[in-house]
Symmetry: C2
């Protein structure tokens, strides 16, 4: 952390394009690792090679996106309010504003995305892009992958003669794990932290960040049930297609996606019966696959057992798995049972889906209030579902960071308009997104310069606008608060 702190001082006076080059060289370096990286990640996570290759490509695309943002520079939201010495009753000062990096960032990577949300995933890439040195608490579920990736970053930083503290990786396995994480979070040089993981760990770390002598921003992405709501008309017409899409989504990567759906709400009736039958058939025909860690594997068994033991919850289909392997589980319950037993709405990490039957549309609407804050919520509808769709969408936008129509929560596009965040417990910071361009903003704070001589201003705010990114706002009230 001390090395990161001194690197922050050094990075502050270096031109932004060096950070862009760093990210680009990291992207190239990850690709150059080729099969060695994918094979190592397969061995450590049990995830299939095709999935990990796609994740690697996504990680590379993220790095390049953040590099492009840094080169463009407009993410700093530079704005210029010219002064007006003649204004009455007091002169208006010249005020200019832009975002500046917070300082050293600690990243707690995720087990389920060993590349895209771990060592050099979205948190690290966006923090480096912002100009913050990064210290990674290495995830013990993929230490070899972490080392391979770290080697890429360290070589890229070295090739640009960036200070050694620009990026650090700490192994944190076994009994060291909690200790290493807490010490990093409590260190006085740490200015912010990002976390992806369980609700219990995220909540505990958030409190540590808040209770420091000097509290720091802590961005946690945690548990999310990502509910799916199916309206009557579409259920009547497309029950089989919806069953297929649901099955693919909740069993994707053995259900170990942060956007995996855990609850599906359907109106009782013939359509719901067909959906349940189709899903049951798909689950029965499914095979088991290895989960990420023994702990996740054990928690999944416990979680499914907990759900099955709730009065009013029934098992429709379940595939057992041996050892590290887990198979999908399909359960069913009713709105009435869910409203009595809120525990049904708590996330179980892994391939389990609970089908919730609602007696009528009002129950479907009301069920949106029984679901905790989620990263994403999906609505299935056809044109005939019009008014009900409108009413339900208005509720879903209040409980999720992203609302999808006729699609599944899994699959997060990396683009400027993406929101990968949401109300608690999906995250502890509903104003933030961990994916997309705005992820960068988490590691920044605004600074204003008042009546500062032009040559002493940051380049981004100088009168000649050499980077062509500053907006002249001149005291207009009507201006997007960029």
């Amino acid at each position: 952390m001390r090395a990161a702190s001194s690197a922050f001082e050094a990075l502050s006076v270096r031109p932004p394009h060096e950070r862009a080059t760093l990210l680009e060289r990291c992207a190239d370096g990850l690709l150059e690792l080729g099969d060695a990286l994918i094979e190592r990640a397969c061995l450590e996570t049990g995830l299939p090679g095709a999935r990990l290759a796609a994740e690697r490509d996504r990680t590379v695309a993220q790095l390049r996106m953040f590099a492009a943002l840094v080169r463009d520079g407009s993410y700093v939201e530079a704005s210029i309010d010219h002064g007006d010495p003649k204004r009455q009753p007091t002169p208006k000062p010249d005020v200019r504003r832009m975002l500046k990096p917070l300082g050293p960032v600690v990243v707690f990577g995720a087990s389920n995305f060993p590349l895209a949300f771990s060592t050099l995933g979205g948190d690290s890439a966006s923090a480096l892009a912002a100009g913050c040195p990064v210290v990674v608490k290495g995830h013990p579920a993929h230490p070899g992958t972490g080392e391979l990736v770290t080697d890429v970053v360290v070589r890229a930083a070295h090739s640009l003669e960036l200070p050694a503290g620009t990026f650090s990786y700490l192994h944190a396995g076994g009994s060291r794990e909690v200790h290493v994480g807490i010490e990093l979070l409590r260190h006085p040089s740490t200015r912010a932290a990002g976390f992806t993981g369980s609700l219990a760990a995220g909540t505990a770390l958030a409190r540590i960040a808040a209770e420091r002598p000097e509290p720091i921003p802590f961005f946690a992405e945690m548990g999310s049930v990502n509910p799916v709501f199916v309206l009557p008309a579409v259920l009547r017409d497309r029950a089989a297609a919806i069953a297929d899409a649901l099955f693919q989504s909740f069993t994707n990567s053995v259900g170990q996606m942060c956007t995996s759906p855990g609850l599906v709400f359907v109106p009782k009736g013939e359509g719901a019966d067909r959906l349940a039958a189709a899903l049951t058939q798909l689950v029965r025909a499914a095979s088991s696959a290895p989960m990420l860690t023994p702990k996740i594997r054990a928690s999944f068994t416990d979680g499914v057992l907990r759900l099955k033991n709730v009065p009013g919850v029934f098992r429709l289909a379940e595939v057992d798995g041996e050892g590290m392997n887990a198979g999908p589980a399909l359960l069913a319950t009713t709105y009435e049972a869910l409203s009595r037993e809120p525990a049904i709405a708590e996330e179980v990490f892994g391939p389990v889906l609970v089908l919730v039957e609602c007696s009528h549309l009002d129950e479907l609407f009301a069920s949106a209030k029984l679901v905790h804050g989620s990263l994403a919520a999906a609505l299935w509808m056809s044109d005939d579902d019009g008014p009900a769709a409108h009413a339900l969408l208005a509720r879903l936008e209040k409980i999720a960071g992203r609302v999808i129509v006729n699609g599944m929560p899994t699959g997060v596009e990396v683009c400027a308009s993406m929101v990968h965040g949401g109300p608690f417990p999906a995250t502890n910071r509903p104003e933030a997104s961990a994916v997309g361009a705005s992820a960068l903003r988490r590691w920044c704070r605004p600074v204003a310069w008042q009546n500062v001589p032009d040559k002493l201003l940051p380049l981004e705010l100088q009168e000649a606008n050499p980077r062509k990114i500053a907006r002249v706002v001149d005291g207009a009230a009507v201006v997007a608060p960029r």
Copy 2:
């Protein structure tokens, strides 16, 4: 809080221009109160009428600025990423993003700005602008002012047939104060809170917000010493003018401004002696004036005594005040003493200024590291101070939300580029600003709509762009994360 929660549902489906009209009617209503409001505020705060009239005008301007922002609409940062069904290997979904209000907001107003940062100050105005109902924990130091202002808001809301829970005001005096505040903060319907006040209260409330079963965003503006740094050349040429400006700034409103300077760093020598002599003369000629509350008055005496008792701190001049009255105090110390006794750098709320002599420029630079995070930091320089100014400014931007050259920290322009915030302990949320257009963003979170049919999208995101505020970004990586 329950009324606010149900008002939030109702407000969500009403057009934004109604909120703008609400704020404009509030602005008109405050002006219509005329002298009655100013007189009541004078009686309750001891602040002079001219100061309060200026504060009223600022409050009115703030309300109109937020109304204009709501009418314009671009603050929601609407962006559209069109889908691309032909993209390989997977189709690109249509993703659209905008900010939505968080829900009921609790406002803890400030004693020192009974209009601009209290009942209907910046926090309440920006939260209402965002579409969040507001519940004010009334400040016991100006209950009558609070009632007059509340009456204006309630009548304006009523004239627009907005729900009663849109705005509420709770008296919270005496032994009720802590209880009322904590209950509001803990209420499950509360979605966010804003606070302006002491470090002790802000820190305690921030922990309560973080330890709720469902943590909520809590924005606290707290203690700030707002240091002033004077470089050698300007001190040689302008010692008397700097003394005048410092005296005006640190005694403004009996030193009860959040941006009041508490520390001034000067290079030892003849210039520093002249500055000290001029300041001493000004302080000795000053009179005392009433402080805001008996508690603030008592804390000021205690704080000055605490400073005077620190080894290496000396009294240059002090004006005593009787009863509620306080006079300014001017103390002196050295960099060496400050580096040994960090307590010297802790804020004392009221008219006290500590002159810190540095033996050489390196001490002046190093002193910036001994100062806590501040709302503002000022640098005095002339052209001959060039290189030193550059080096010092680079340090000041790391410890303050706003950096001023050849001016004083007091006086916060309400404009788009303003930052009224800063690192801890100035605030607990360095990414936020309590003044200016971006204050609105504190009460919002982003939501993304994926593949949602056009007619079911919010107006701001529909393809025809009827509000003319959405930016089409179409997956470009290079886009400001608005």
